[in-house]
């Protein structure tokens, strides 16, 4: 009798193992290289390729729209984007749309919360460095950096009743630290509107996860900074969460044998070299994006205090390979 019971149990287990592999959903994936100057991968489970393609195309359209809206270098016909607003808001107040309003509002909140360590009004300073990274030219001069620092006060950015103005006419907004995170969330909403409920969006290190895979939770590898792209050091398992990594290896330039990252410490006026990467786990990709950049430029203890306010967890990896993490940051393997 015992043997029969054991056999039946094993049979049930085997059958469930087999059937769990197929619930009529197949896995699809697509890679885009034309939004936010980075690589975006959408992976999802869908009933058919047609269903997936329709949803992914709609999400891609949304990403393209936001890419143009948050561009601070180029203006486009027919839309008022951040480049346009940077040009006009010093002279007169300008009406802004919902997507710009949300991003600036959140940017100003983070600027106040971090005492300007994360500052959307720092465009004058960050662009000096980003131009160096893009062109591979030498470092900006101290004179240019000090001059740029005079016009980065977020307190001179006024957003009232959907209208934006700058008290300091020389202010330039730079939403590079938060735009991708917000855009990834918007793309996620579009996937859901199109009937997709189990998906993973990775917009250049900003991951939004929803639902699960037939065999369990989504697994996100945290890049091993010492190795080449794609080789992970840790894995975290997530469900309905965002994981965002800011890494000095993402975008950088080398000069005089030293590597300079794209994340600028606004107090030192130089790229931050405190960590090689900071990964944030939280409920929203927009928050994760802002937090990972902010944490990059502060001590671990200051970072932990900030994380507590936002109910988020983090993992810091140092240049020498050592790491620290918050208690709630669970490593899967």
């Amino acid at each position: 009798m015992k043997k029969l019971l054991a056999a039946v149990l094993i049979a049930i287990f085997s059958i469930s193992a087999l059937t769990s592999c197929g619930q009529g959903l197949s896995r699809f994936s697509v890679t885009y290289t034309d939004v936010f100057d980075t690589v975006t991968v959408i992976t999802a489970y869908a009933k058919s390729e047609a269903v997936f393609n329709k949803a992914a195309n709609a999400a891609h359209d949304e990403l393209l729209r936001l890419h143009k809206l948050y561009d601070i270098y180029n203006e486009y016909d027919g839309i008022t984007n951040l480049a346009t607003l940077n040009r006009l808001c010093g002279e007169s107040a300008q009406p802004v749309g919902k997507d710009i309003e949300i991003l600036i509002k959140s940017g100003l909140e983070y600027a106040a919360l971090t005492d300007g360590k994360l500052n959307i009004a720092a465009g004058n300073l960050t662009c000096l460095w980003h131009d160096c990274i893009a062109n591979g030219t030498g470092l900006p001069t101290d004179e240019a950096l000090i001059k740029a620092k005079e016009h980065i006060s977020y307190k001179s950015v006024k957003l009232e009743n959907g209208t934006l103005s700058f008290d300091d006419p020389k202010i330039k907004l730079d939403v590079g630290a938060t735009a991708k995170g917000y855009a990834a969330e918007r793309a996620a909403a579009v996937l859901e509107e199109n009937g997709i409920s189990d998906y993973l969006i990775n917009a250049g290190g900003n991951v939004v996860s929803k639902g699960k895979k037939p065999d369990g939770e989504w697994k996100i590898g945290i890049q091993d900074p010492a190795k080449q792209t794609g080789e992970y050091r840790f894995i975290v398992a997530v469900k309905d969460k965002s994981v965002v990594t800011s890494g000095s290896y993402e975008r950088f330039f080398e000069y005089g044998g030293k590597r300079y990252s794209h994340i600028i410490d606004l107090e030192k006026l130089y790229p931050s070299d405190r960590y090689v990467s900071v990964t944030v786990l939280c409920g929203s990709s927009a928050d994760g994006d802002a937090l990972s950049t902010a944490l990059f430029c502060m001590s671990v203890s200051d970072g932990k205090a900030l994380l507590k306010q936002k109910n988020a967890e983090a993992l810091w990896i140092y240049e020498n390979g050592e790491y620290e993490k918050t208690d709630g940051f669970k490593i899967y393997e």
Binding site: K3, L4, A6, A7, V8, I10, A11, F13, S14, I15, A17, L18, C21, V30, T31, Y32, T33, D34, D37, T38, V39, V41, T43, H60, L200, N202, G205, N206, V207, K213, W218, K219, I220, G221, I222, Q223, Q228, T229, G230, E231, Y232, I235, V243, V244, T245, T279, E333
Partner: protein, 117 residues
């Protein structure tokens, strides 16, 4: 010994079934991919085997070479050339991406991580 019970039959069937499931799982989870995909501007350009040495000229944008079970970017018209400096890839999920030309080479197959950031 010829008096097989129902339990014996179910047991044997179950073992065979488990073995089959394990075989499927291990086959799918193997680390070294055997195929890779090239895509341009988000569209699949072609899928190729990693086990045959060959070169693929991708619309004059770049030349992809397969050698000894690994694939790499041999040359590219892009300005930075980071894609050409990338080491050859062979494991499932690994990719070489040329952002300026919008070319992605990716080894197909299941991976432990659904994304690496």
């Amino acid at each position: 010994m010829n008096k097989k019970t129902i339990a014996d039959i179910i047991l044997v069937c179950s073992v065979v079934l488990i073995a089959a499931v394990m075989l499927i799982v291990t086959t799918v989870n193997k680390k070294n991919g055997d195929k890779f995909e090239i895509s341009v501007g988000g569209r699949v350009y072609g899928t190729y085997s990693l086990s045959e040495d060959r070169t693929v000229d991708v619309d004059g944008l770049c030349v992809v070479r397969v050698k000894d079970g690994a694939v790499y970017m041999e040359s590219s018209t892009c300005k930075g050339g980071d894609c050409v400096k990338h080491k050859p890839i062979s494991k499932s999920g690994e990719s070489i991406i040329c952002l300026p030309n919008s070319v992605v080479i990716r080894v197909l197959g299941e991976t432990d991580a659904d994304a690496v950031i």
